[in-house]
């Protein structure tokens, strides 16, 4: 039940349904033991990539090389890949123990060994006492853990997870994130995790691929993607982003001077490379002041249109121009004074936080 997950290499993999290109030619390598997430809106191709990997969606082109072996063309039952389904797909007519033992019985494992490995798996997910229950008698979180146990009991080359936490309520979902991550760490499996929840992916993953319109837009660590998004789509899909449209970019002593389409100019530390860009400023990079600050790179006067206190943080909506409202977020300090709706404020941020990203 130990051992290292496999290394997975996608080479030019694509899938076309009639005229629809669900997955454009994609090449990608997932390292052994890596927790790799794919996020994107529905229809972005992430589910197709999962189906192609599991084997129930035949790809139009390309190869999937798992530990040096091309598995394209092999039916799912020969691939030795584990999968946790969105609705768990636990067999309702079998007990928990029979469900976990199912993949072993399909591999003609001796009866005694099946019992032993099922017992170990149940211990790992701490549900020993549920062995003889039917899945319908378990809570959502327990079903989730059984689905994990069933997917991993036969030491598969990798674990696929298709939005496994989406059916759970928020608190349980956050607890299960830790559980899934710990499960993966103990087993050392390679995990391909598909979700539309960027926060969930960021909390668990070593690396994340963001997909849109059938292609991967950017791959990187969660922090990489948040701090250095390459495109407007990435910036706004992962966390919150204030986006400004650019009118003109010219060279500047500390990078570039940018005239926006909203009547104010900004300074960025990043030298402009190519056209078709826009600006992204993260909400926590913005500072608000009652008086015009001095020595700040970018200062714009505005008006508070919305002030919200959420557990642990303050969130303001600030109108900078008639058509531009930005979001600002700061951790709340006990007793800190809040701005009120209608207050005149000065928003400022550093040139380094003025990110130039491709407009898509």
């Amino acid at each position: 039940m130990s051992g290292q997950g496999a290394r997975i290499e996608y080479v030019d993999i694509s899938k076309r349904y009639g005229q629809v290109e669900a997955l454009r030619r994609t090449s990608l390598t997932i390292e052994a033991g890596e927790f790799f997430s794919i996020i994107g809106p529905s229809g972005s191709g992430k589910t197709t990539l999962l189906g192609v990997t599991a084997g129930y969606v035949p790809p139009t082109t390309g190869q999937i090389i798992i530990d040096g072996r091309n598995v394209v063309g092999e039916p799912p039952f020969q691939r030795n890949i584990g999968m946790v389904f969105q609705n768990y797909a636990l067999f309702p007519h079998m007990t928990v123990a029979q469900n976990i033992g199912f993949p072993l019985r399909m591999r003609k494992t001796p009866r005694a060994e099946v019992a032993e490995r099922v017992r170990k798996m149940l211990a790992l997910v701490r549900l020993e006492e549920m062995a003889e229950r039917k899945p319908g008698q378990l809570s959502g979180g327990q079903q989730q853990r059984i689905a994990l146990a069933r997917a991993a009991v036969y030491d598969p080359l990798m674990l696929l997870m298709d939005e496994p936490l989406s059916a759970l309520d928020k608190n349980l979902r956050e607890a299960m994130q830790d559980e899934v991550k710990q499960f993966q760490t103990v087993l050392g499996s390679t995990v391909l995790y598909v979700t539309h929840d960027q926060a969930e992916a960021a909390a668990m993953s070593d690396r994340i691929a963001i997909m849109n319109h059938g292609r991967i837009v950017q791959i990187g660590s969660p922090r990489d993607l948040y701090e250095h998004p390459v495109a407007r789509f990435v910036a706004s899909f992962l966390g919150e982003a204030n986006i400004f449209d650019i009118d003109k970019v010219s060279p500047h002593a500390s990078g570039s001077a940018i005239a926006t389409r909203h009547g104010f100019s900004l300074v960025s530390a990043i030298a402009s490379g190519h056209e078709g860009q826009c600006i992204c400023v993260r909400p926590e990079a913005v500072m608000l002041h009652a008086q015009r600050p001095t020595g700040h790179d970018n200062v714009i006067e505005g008006r508070i249109v919305d002030a919200t206190y959420t557990a642990g943080s303050l969130r303001y909506r600030v109108e900078l121009a008639s058509d531009v409202v930005i979001t600002q977020r700061t951790p709340s300090v006990r007793g800190a004074e809040m701005f009120a709706e209608g207050d005149r404020v000065f928003a400022s941020w550093r040139a380094e936080d003025t990110l130039l990203v491709a407009d898509d």
């Binding site: 599991a54 799912p76 030795n80 584990g82 999968m83 609705n87 797909a89 199912f102």
Partner: protein, 285 residues
């Protein structure tokens, strides 16, 4: 005691009002006449069980009962074997094709049994369509006998009963989430084992319902056995009808009907218990 005269409203009272009308209807037009039949079976002879003694002493009546059970069993098995793959296919259809498939099942279902049985007679006659074709093709010299024997009854009844098997099966199959079969595949089951270990067990509620429906309807079936069956192989409903119309022995007919009722009820209870034990879910669920 407190003097509260106002009655407390509860949903149960509402259900009682809604249910009272159909219950009353069934009491007057179903339970009452049925009780009449059962009561009548104890009349018209020496002692109250004399009609039943006649039924069980005469080997020809026993033979009819056994033949009825045999035909119902065979028809049920044939219907299940034919309907299972058809239903599995129909359950996977979508949109227009699903509508076409349902039309093909329901149009004959809605056509009168009498008309459909007469249609079989047109096909099966000595100089009917099938014999005519076979003779013209030179395959046979003399017309074959399809009617007034075992073959005709079985073919006719399977045809009439098929929708009763198809509809519950299709419904059960459509309730099987496709992700179960997908999961079975990814977990290492080849298509045959996935079917055997996952699809078949999950389809058992539909099998239970279809088998019970076809078997019980077949036990009391009258029109098709009467028109396509022979004098030597008589089903119990035909025998009962003869006792009423030809022999005018209402008491014996009532006893035969009561035996059929009892056998049906007993088989049904046993069957429901077995299918419940097998984990397929009882028909009464």
């Amino acid at each position: 005691m407190q003097g509260t005269t106002g009655r407390i409203w509860s949903p149960a009272r509402g259900y009682f009002v809604i249910l009272s009308l159909p219950v009353l209807f069934l009491l007057v037009f179903f339970v009452w006449p049925m009780a009449g039949v059962v009561l009548r079976s104890f009349e018209g002879g020496e002692g109250i069980f004399s009609q039943y003694l006649t039924v069980f002493e005469r080997s020809s009546y026993i033979k009819v009962l056994l033949y009825t059970l045999q035909v119902a069993t065979t028809v049920t098995v044939l219907c299940l074997l034919i309907a299972y793959p058809v239903a599995a296919l129909v359950a996977r259809l979508q949109g227009k094709w699903l509508q076409i498939a349902f039309a093909l099942i329901l149009v004959p279902f809605w056509t009168s049994t009498v008309i459909r049985t007469y249609a079989w007679m047109v096909l099966f006659q000595r100089k009917g369509v099938i014999n005519g074709m076979l003779i013209d093709m030179g395959l046979i010299a003399e017309p074959l006998r399809f009617m007034h024997n075992n073959i005709g009854v079985h073919i006719g009844m399977v045809h009439i009963m098929l929708p009763f098997m198809l509809l519950p099966l299709i419904s059960a199959f459509r309730n099987i989430d496709p992700s179960y079969m997908r999961a079975a595949g990814v977990l290492g089951a080849n298509p045959i084992r996935a079917f055997w270990h996952v699809y078949l067990p999950l389809s058992m509620p539909g099998v239970s319902a279809g088998v019970a429906l076809v078997f019980i309807t077949s036990l009391g079936f009258f029109i098709t056995p009467a028109l396509l069956g022979g004098a030597h192989n008589m089903m119990v409903a035909v025998l009962i009808e003869q006792q009423v119309t030809i022999t005018v022995n209402w008491e014996l007919a009532s006893a035969l009907a009561s035996v059929l009722l009892l056998v049906t009820a007993a088989l049904y209870i046993v069957y429901d218990w077995v299918s419940r034990r097998a984990g397929g879910g009882g028909v009464l669920d």
